[in-house]
Symmetry: C2
C-alpha cells in the first residue's frame, strides 16, 4: 500500500503509469518471469485494477510494445523531418534512434530482446511495430531521393531494401552500444553514417564522414 494507491487519477493517466511500471518489470524479469503483482505494486494500484485496465499479462506486454514503438517511430520521424538534405535527414533520424535506445533502455529491451514466440498476439504486435519503424525508414529513404532531385532512381522495392539494411544495422548496433557504454549515441550515429552513408570502402581507406555544419 503506497501513497500512490490513494491518489485519484484519470483513466488515461493511470493507464500510462501502469504501462510505465510494466515496462520496467518486463525489461528486468523477461516476459515469462514477470508477475502482475509486481507491476501492480509498482504502479500503486491493485492487481484486479490492472486487469481491468489492460486485460492480462499479455495485454500489458502488448500495450508496452505498442506505446514504445510508436514513441520510437515518432522520435525518428520528427528528427528526420527537421533535416533539409537526405544526408541530414538520415543523420538526424539515426541520431534520434540511438538516443532513444540509450535513454529508454527498458523500452528497447522489451522491443528488441523479448522473444517473438510469446504467443500469436505478441508476435503480431512486435511484427507490426517493426513494420511501422520500417515504413518510417522507407519513407525517409524515398523522401530523401525525391527531395534530392533524383526522383525515380530508387523504386519501392529498392527503398525497402535500403530500409531493411539500415534498420538491421541499427538494431544490431544496439548490442554493440550495450557493450560500449562509454560511447555516446551521437558517436554511434557518426560511426554508422561512416559505414552506411559514405560507404565501407571509404571507411577502409580512412576517409571519415563528419556531421554537416549547417544548423543541426
Amino acid at each position: 500500500m503506497t501513497d500512490k494507491r490513494r491518489r485519484r487519477l484519470p483513466r488515461s493517466v493511470r493507464e500510462q503509469e501502469i504501462i510505465d511500471a510494466a515496462l520496467g518489470v518486463f525489461s528486468k524479469r523477461g516476459y515469462r518471469a514477470a508477475v502482475v503483482d509486481e507491476i501492480a505494486d509498482l504502479a500503486g494500484i491493485s492487481k484486479p485494477m490492472v486487469y481491468l485496465y489492460l486485460g492480462s499479462k499479455e495485454g500489458l506486454f502488448i500495450a508496452c510494445v505498442r506505446r514504445e514503438s510508436q514513441r520510437l517511430a515518432a522520435a525518428f520521424r520528427e528528427a528526420a523531418q527537421a533535416g533539409d538534405s537526405p544526408e541530414q535527414r538520415l543523420w538526424a533520424g539515426l541520431g534520434a534512434f540511438f538516443a532513444f535506445v540509450a535513454e529508454h533502455r527498458d523500452s528497447w529491451v522489451v522491443l528488441h530482446r523479448q522473444a517473438p514466440e510469446q504467443g500469436e498476439a505478441i508476435a503480431q504486435e512486435i511484427a507490426d511495430a517493426r513494420r511501422s519503424v520500417m515504413a518510417e525508414v522507407n519513407g525517409l529513404v524515398r523522401d530523401g531521393i525525391t527531395k534530392g532531385g533524383e526522383a525515380d532512381r530508387l523504386g519501392e522495392q529498392e527503398a525497402d531494401f535500403v530500409a531493411h539494411a539500415l534498420v538491421g544495422a541499427a538494431d544490431s548496433l544496439t548490442d554493440w552500444m550495450e557493450r560500449h557504454p562509454g560511447e555516446p549515441p551521437e558517436r554511434v550515429t557518426v560511426r554508422l553514417m561512416n559505414v552506411m552513408w559514405v560507404g565501407m570502402r571509404n571507411v577502409l581507406v580512412g576517409e571519415v564522414w563528419v556531421p554537416p555544419q549547417h544548423d543541426a
Copy 2:
C-alpha cells in the same frame, strides 16, 4: 515404421539424420509446438532412441542451432578466404551467406526466427552462434584492412562495429528476401554491396557497384 527404421547406421550418421529431421520439424512447427514423436518418425527411429542420442527436445534444438551455425560460418569463411581483395572477400562472403539462407531455409528459420526466450540453454546457444558468425565477419573486416595495406586504420572496436552493421543488415535483409522470392541470392548480394560498400550516397545519386570481373 518406415524402411529407414530397420537400417543399421553408425551413431554419427544416425545423429545427423535425427538433426536433419529435427530441423524440418522445428522450422515448420516452431519450438513449442514441435513434438519429438514427429522427429523420431521422420528420422525413422524410435522416440526413446532419439532421447538416447540427443537427450531432450531442448537438446535436439541446441544440436540444430550448433550444427547449422557452424555450417553457415564455414560457408562464409571459405567463400571470403577465396577473394583476393577486401572488396572481393566481402562480396564472396555475403554471397555465401545469402546462398546459404536461400538453400537452407529450415536452418535459417531455426537460427533466425526461433525465439531466444526458450530457456537459458537455447538462448545461450543462439547467442554463441551469433557471436561465432560475428567473429568471422570481424575477422573478414580486419583481414580486409591488413591485406589492403591499411593496417591499423581500424581498431578492434571499429572492426566490431562494422561487423555488427554488416551482420545486422544481412540478417534483416533475409526478411526482405523472403518477400521477394524471385530475387536470387546473387542479386541480393550485389544490392547490399551497393549499400554497404560503395555507400548509400552513391546509390542515391544512381551510381551502381558491379561485381569485379576478376575470376569471381
